[in-house]
Subunit: 439 residues, 2 copies
């Protein structure tokens, strides 16, 4: 075997090849070279390395295209798994995702986020264990856990810098504790950033595109992905679009800013508006004391979809503000596409998509240069949890083998350094993690 | 001489080493290795390459530090030059900048932006020629011209996508025409993005930091730099912060959006407010028919600085909106620092800096993670023109030698591809451009 040139294994190259194989499902080396712009020699070396690691397998020959038939390669989806855990105010969602990005198991339960983390995290760990057992996934094939929750975060230290879901979670070492309870590496990540990267992994966007994601559950967050990597900024607390001001004379938000988007366009604001509309509140049997705002919000969204004028007015007002925020995102990040992700978009997807698209078409600064498409997430309500699992897979498979030269300067998007830091925290207290390749 | 490993010449590595040498003024190879995190062997190879190109020279020995004295290296600032040309509504500024980022010549003149480009560009070219002659800069040491102006732009094609400065500039091939007139490569760039990168080149920010720039001349623009490269997005029409909406019920802007920042906080808006304040307008002898809004604005800013309450009220209102926009920039891009650049900040720098800092300290989402510093530009009023020259130097020296593997995927910030595209447009019609190294 010819020795691989040193650049054959550059993480970025390896990641790119893996991304293209995943998106194509089945592809020849010649097609891979064409799709990536890499040389045939590089492709051969990288594919060989991926096959040695058990991640890619040869799979028959392609149809005749004039020359001799070509050997196709494809992912071995069952070679590795990632686990995603989302802790939200009302619900905890756990998913297991294979290398192809397919969800192979899922569970969700309520109440965990209202417990102190010392009590909640062992419960989450036992649910992860049970889910892996149920799905018959071998633990030595699980690369780790992406724990996704609210921002701001100290991602490297694995702690939340917000008193959400409750005050007791602030500054608590959630990543380390979950890693200790599970014996698996844990990566803390912002929910919206996770949702954003999940779209890329699923092949829903072009490999080289710059796209944004607006994520709406009980709150509103965002993520931007540039050429397959999350835009991070200086501390991974980026694209907090729910907390940009829509009105400098607006009310103060607990975050410290005034007139935050979330307080005009988010589910809590909409439920408040609906409760203040007596006919509507009665018609939809809204409960002013309901703990789970998403259930109440879903009734409003369903009524809007069914043509209730009052409900529709509330959703349209929300969409107008979200449209304004989408224009700001496009104006600042110059994105091609904005994905609407998360449970609250899922229940009223078509109204939001139509109205936000209209605002962006009219108002976006660089519309002479290119359009911006508004699309629903391919990952539905579980986009953040799936994205958490995907980030672990991406981190381990494509960014997981830094070479001296690649590590010297943090990547422009700053991802690799922080992944490692979090992982090491996790590993410190964890059982030995398999690192050898599977055969 | 040992053969250089292939990664020694990776543009990013080369650029990083050059950046650190520039910032340090004089540095040993050992210190370079420590500052960059690169190995000694890589540093030796890169420094040798930079010396072969005439960009770096050895310069004596460092003081005793316990071991043997070390040979210091430093930039050879006169080895290469870049030219920056800014075309603004009222003024055209031309600067010549050496490799150390020092301005070695400058001129400015009015009227060119109100001419059609067919007439204006040859005039600009003759001024560039005259400036190079006056400064006795050899043309074979000039790497090219950074032409900076308004967004949106088609940077690759070298055309403006805005009817500014006048309708005739829209869709006109400005980069190609100036390149033909000058016989030098021309790179079209957004003025605010250029101003942003100029700060980095001058060593005013840390090499790995993520920082933003708000640029205010007659309009308001922005730029974000991540680890030494401009954040570009999908078409280099990013960070157009003057056209984010501060009020969804605000007036329509010619850009298509409503309630744009520029229309509350920009010099034109402030001059309008001052003219509507009769006592103030009379006191400052403002001219409602003045063509040059910056002169009128400077009077307001100077009066505010001198303690005129009405003038100060107008500047403070502008600063409040800019503070809100700075919070949005910090919230979305997660920057460490925001630089206030351009002529309109220069005349009222301390008021703006204080008030914007206060807003950011109070309202920024991730302030538990890190503070955001608001600082004035090191490049004063000419930040955009200097940045244009710097971008040409940066592009040619650090991104100018793509290797097959580096070119395969556009860099995450998308810089290299577009630089080349513009240059080739410029070169197509230009006289031969020297590419050999100087000895």
């Amino acid at each position: 075997m010819a020795s691989s040139p040193i650049w054959a294994s550059r993480p970025r190259t390896r990641g790119l090849v893996l991304d293209v194989i995943r998106a194509a499902r089945s592809i020849s080396r010649v097609e891979l070279a064409a799709a990536t712009g890499l040389t045939g020699a590089t492709i051969s070396a990288v594919v060989r390395e991926l096959m040695d690691d058990g991640l890619v397998v040869e799979a028959g020959r392609g149809g005749p295209t004039g020359g001799k038939p070509r050997t196709m390669v494809q992912l071995n989806p069952l070679a590795r798994y990632g686990v995603g855990v989302q802790i939200e105010r009302n619900t905890c969602v756990i998913v297991v995702v294979d290398l192809a990005g397919r969800q192979v198991a899922r569970t969700s339960f309520q109440g965990v986020a209202t417990m102190p983390p010392r009590q909640a995290l062992p419960l989450v760990a036992s649910q992860v264990d049970a889910l892996l057992d149920t799905a018959a996934v071998r633990r030595d094939r699980v690369l780790g856990v992406g724990l996704v929750s609210y921002g701001p975060q100290d991602r490297r230290a694995g702690v939340l810098l917000t008193p959400q879901p409750t005050r007791e979670w602030l500054d608590y070492p959630v990543a380390r504790l979950l890693a200790e309870a599970l014996g698996l590496p844990v990566l803390l990540e912002n929910d919206a950033a996770a949702a954003a990267i999940g779209e890329y992994w699923m092949g829903a966007v072009e490999p080289n595109s710059t796209y944004g994601c607006i994520y709406m559950a009980t709150g509103i967050g965002g993520g931007v992905v540039v050429a397959g990597e999350v835009y991070r900024g200086s501390s991974s607390n980026s694209v907090e679009i729910g907390h940009i001001s829509m009105d400098l004379d607006g009310d103060e938000c607990p975050c410290g800013n005034v007139g935050c988007l979330e307080n005009y366009a988010g589910p809590s604001a909409m439920v408040r508006q609906a409760l203040a509309t007596p006919g509507l509140a009665r018609r939809l049997a809204l409960d002013p004391a309901a703990a789970d705002v998403l259930t109440e919000f879903a009734r409003i969204a369903a009524a809007a979809d069914a043509g209730d004028a009052a409900a529709r007015g509330i959703v349209e007002r929300s969409a107008r503000y979200l449209g304004g925020a989408a224009v700001t995102m496009a104006c600042l990040f110059d994105v091609d596409t904005i994905v609407l992700a998360g449970p609250s978009f899922t229940v009223a997807s078509s109204i939001y998509q139509t109205l936000i698209q209209r605002e962006v078409d009219r108002r976006m600064f660089a519309r002479r240069a290119h359009p911006v498409r508004i699309v629903p997430s391919v990952n539905g309500s579980d986009a953040a949890a799936i994205g958490g699992a995907v980030l672990v897979l991406q981190s381990e498979l494509t960014l997981g083998q830094p070479r001296p030269d690649d590590g010297a300067r943090s990547t422009p998007l700053g991802a690799a350094g922080l992944h490692r830091g979090s992982y090491q925290d996790g590993r410190a207290g964890a059982a030995a993690v398999p690192t050898g390749s599977l055969t």
